[in-house]
């Protein structure tokens, strides 16, 4: 077992990336609560809906996926899932959806509150379960739903036909929102938001790419926390500032040979799938105690969007990881593995996410073969704690460690 380097706890530095990012993540909720209190119409929005649209219109929106992750990480996932199941929802449905649908009915959760919406914004580029989840929210709460359909793309590029199909929906969504909220779209404001979003994304992607150094200047589990800002606030200048601070800190760590990974980095792996939020500490400790740093994950990079204009923005949203074909998705991961000197792949077979877990069986086999790395999977769930066994996880991670150790010894 790798020995943990203990560091004394110090008060957070207000100029640190961690402090800034935490502030932004908290403000994402308080801003919406304040807007609701002022009588403004607020929305709920899916994570890969183009945030540039509400941001340009000056609207306040909340992210049910982030809320569900927060509730699950703080121990409330099972209670909320059971509440949804008692309403008749199957336990086979995505646990984020169950938590969110339960919240819509209950109206509060001590782990993470957010105001109920006046409209919902749904985009299915991340998954199709999202459509039914948001339809039910809209029906239960008797509010409008704005839907952007971005189909799964079997081709390698975004065709002009797909661009036109999605662009029409972007424009319609803007019109619908103008009508619902009374706000107006301006090109000038859009250019500002686009610049912020690209600036934030550029810094974020550069920061995550710092894992190419050995040792990595950061613990990969940091990315799972910082991602919240990428999802909710990437169009805001303060998010760009915080991400640029994060990048500078990682650069400084690299120059000084330091890392936020508080153990000796013996092994470097890629983690595949959404985090197992109810068991975050267990999954993190299972790796860290063995000197395994999860240096990269496609899940983090998925929220970095770089583009030059309105059409470019649409193309970027058509290329998010769950909307692209297996070969393109595989090659992105292979690049991450090779760029970051990954020695093993740990796959979270997430009971909530049938799409992601479904394609990973074949994709992980191909990645393992191409990168010549061992691939190990474990069962879990993004928000339903009942779908995880600590002993099974531990055995699998230990098995992965033993393979990586044997390969290192054989290479000497």
């Amino acid at each position: 077992m790798a020995e943990e380097k203990k560091k004394p706890r110090t008060p957070p530095d207000p100029n640190s990336a961690k402090y800034k990012l935490n502030q932004i993540a908290q403000k994402a909720y308080t801003d919406v609560q304040e807007a609701k209190a002022r009588g403004e119409k607020v929305g709920w929005i899916s994570s890969n809906f183009p945030v540039e649209i509400p941001e340009t219109l000056g609207l306040y929106v909340c992210y049910p996926e982030n809320q569900a992750a927060g509730i699950a990480a703080r121990g409330g996932g099972v209670r909320m899932c059971e509440a949804a199941e008692s309403e008749g929802y199957s336990n086979d449905i995505c646990a984020y959806a169950r938590v969110s649908l339960a919240y819509a009915r209950l109206g509060s959760a001590p782990e993470q509150d957010m105001p109920l919406p006046d409209y919902v914004l749904c985009c299915n580029n991340i998954c199709n379960c999202m459509i039914k989840w948001y339809e039910n929210l809209a029906k239960e709460l008797n509010i409008p739903m704005i839907m952007i359909d971005i189909p799964f793309n079997p081709d390698d590029e975004v065709s002009d036909a797909e661009l036109a199909y999605v662009k029409g929906q972007f424009l319609a969504a803007i019109e619908q929102l103008e009508e619902i909220t009374g706000r107006k779209w301006t090109e000038e404001r859009f250019r500002e938001v686009m610049a912020n979003s690209c600036r934030t994304s550029r810094a974020w992607l550069e920061a995550t790419a710092m894992a190419r150094y050995t040792p990595s200047p950061f613990n990969g589990f940091d990315l799972l926390n910082h991602m919240a800002v990428m999802v909710t606030a990437r169009g805001k200048p303060e998010a760009a500032d915080a991400m640029e601070t994060l990048l500078k800190e990682y650069q400084a760590n690299h120059e000084k040979g330091e890392s936020t990974f508080r153990a000796e980095e013996k092994y470097r792996i890629m983690f595949e799938g959404i985090a197992c939020w109810p068991w975050l500490r267990v999954t993190s400790t299972g790796m860290k105690s063995r000197g395994i740093n999860m240096v990269t994950t496609i899940y983090a990079d998925a929220f970095g969007f770089i583009y030059d204009d309105f059409d470019g923005m649409i193309r970027a949203y058509c290329k998010v990881p769950n909307a692209i074909n297996l070969e393109v998705a595989r090659d992105k991961r292979i690049k991450l593995c090779k760029d970051n000197s990954v020695e093993g792949l740990l796959v979270h077979v997430n009971r909530s996410c049938k799409l992601w877990s479904g394609f990973m069986s074949e994709m992980s086999r191909q990645i393992g073969r191409e990168c010549d790395i061992p691939v190990v999977s474990f069962d879990g769930d993004q928000a339903d704690a009942r779908n995880f066994s600590e002993a099974q996880y531990d055995t699998r991670v230990q098995g992965l460690t033993e393979i990586m150790e044997a390969r290192k010894e054989a290479a000497v």
């Binding site: 002993a391 055995t395 033993e402």
Partner: protein, 258 residues
């Protein structure tokens, strides 16, 4: 040099005393696993058989689900590595190991030097494990050890289609109520386990020679069903259930030697 390996499983505890990493001096199997007091009994048994005391043991390695709870070991390894090492010792030409234990099923790939190169395990479900067979034996009111010989008497195996242990239980009861001969029901149960584990094996990739370890290896019905499903010879040996403990003792020898 004497080294000790102990495999604390979900239903049984196995222990092996090894001399110089090459000769099995003593072995024991106690029908008590994690949470029960089988560990001390299993260790005591091999000490008595070998005429040694713990002071003579250079290194002890634990494996199995109870490996972290037992404080008597100098080290621990996963049951994956333990079975890989143990099976390589028992059958050096093995390149695929199928291990079906009390609560898990695993398929392990070995490279040409006998090192584990990959593995898959069952998901969070008892189907395809020894527990499935225990439950079915309970319904049939026969000993689990008798299932293999009963399956051999089957003329027309019943179709047990449910992969869930609980639903399969209802299915078995229905088959019995409909008058299906017990040997046919038992053969259907063995086929069901084999089908589940074969799917795991195909996912990992089957490379011959294939060796079966774990308690279920004693069940000829499951082993033969696996051969039919996979289209390969699946070998085993009387020591198959000790493979994990043997692997732990081999690992202990390696650690003590370096």
């Amino acid at each position: 040099m004497y080294t000790l390996g102990i495999d604390i499983g979900s239903t049984t505890t196995k222990c092996v005393m090894l001399r110089d990493g090459a000769e099995v001096l003593a072995a024991s199997l106690v029908e008590a696993g994690v949470g029960a007091d089988g560990t001390a009994e299993a260790v005591e048994s091999v000490l008595v058989q070998s005429g040694l005391n713990m002071a003579a043991v250079a290194y002890t390695v634990a494996t199995g689900y109870g490996r972290k709870r037992w404080t008597g070991a100098d080290g621990e390894i996963s049951e994956l590595s333990a079975h890989a090492l143990g099976c390589h010792f028992l059958m050096p030409e093995a390149r695929t190991v199928i291990d079906i234990g009390g609560q898990d099923a695993k398929v392990i790939s070995l490279d040409d030097s006998g090192r584990m190169s990959g593995f898959v395990m069952n998901d969070k479900c008892a189907a395809g494990t020894g527990r499935f067979l225990d439950v079915m034996a309970g319904i049939l009111k026969v000993g689990v050890d008798a299932l293999g010989s009963m399956a051999a008497r089957s003329e027309s195996p019943a179709d047990i289609s449910s992969t869930c242990t609980v639903f399969a239980e209802s299915e078995v009861i229905s088959q019995l109520a409909n008058g299906t001969p017990v040997p046919d029901v038992v053969a259907g149960i063995c086929n069901s386990v084999a089908a589940r584990v074969s799917a795991l094996a195909r996912r990992q990739g089957v490379k011959e020679a294939v060796y079966m370890s774990g308690g279920v290896a004693k069940n000829e019905g499951v082993r033969k069903a696996l051969e039919r499903e996979l289209g390969v010879t699946v070998s085993t040996s009387p020591d198959a259930q000790l493979a994990g403990a043997l692997g732990a003792a081999l690992n202990a020898y390696r650690k003590a030697s370096t």
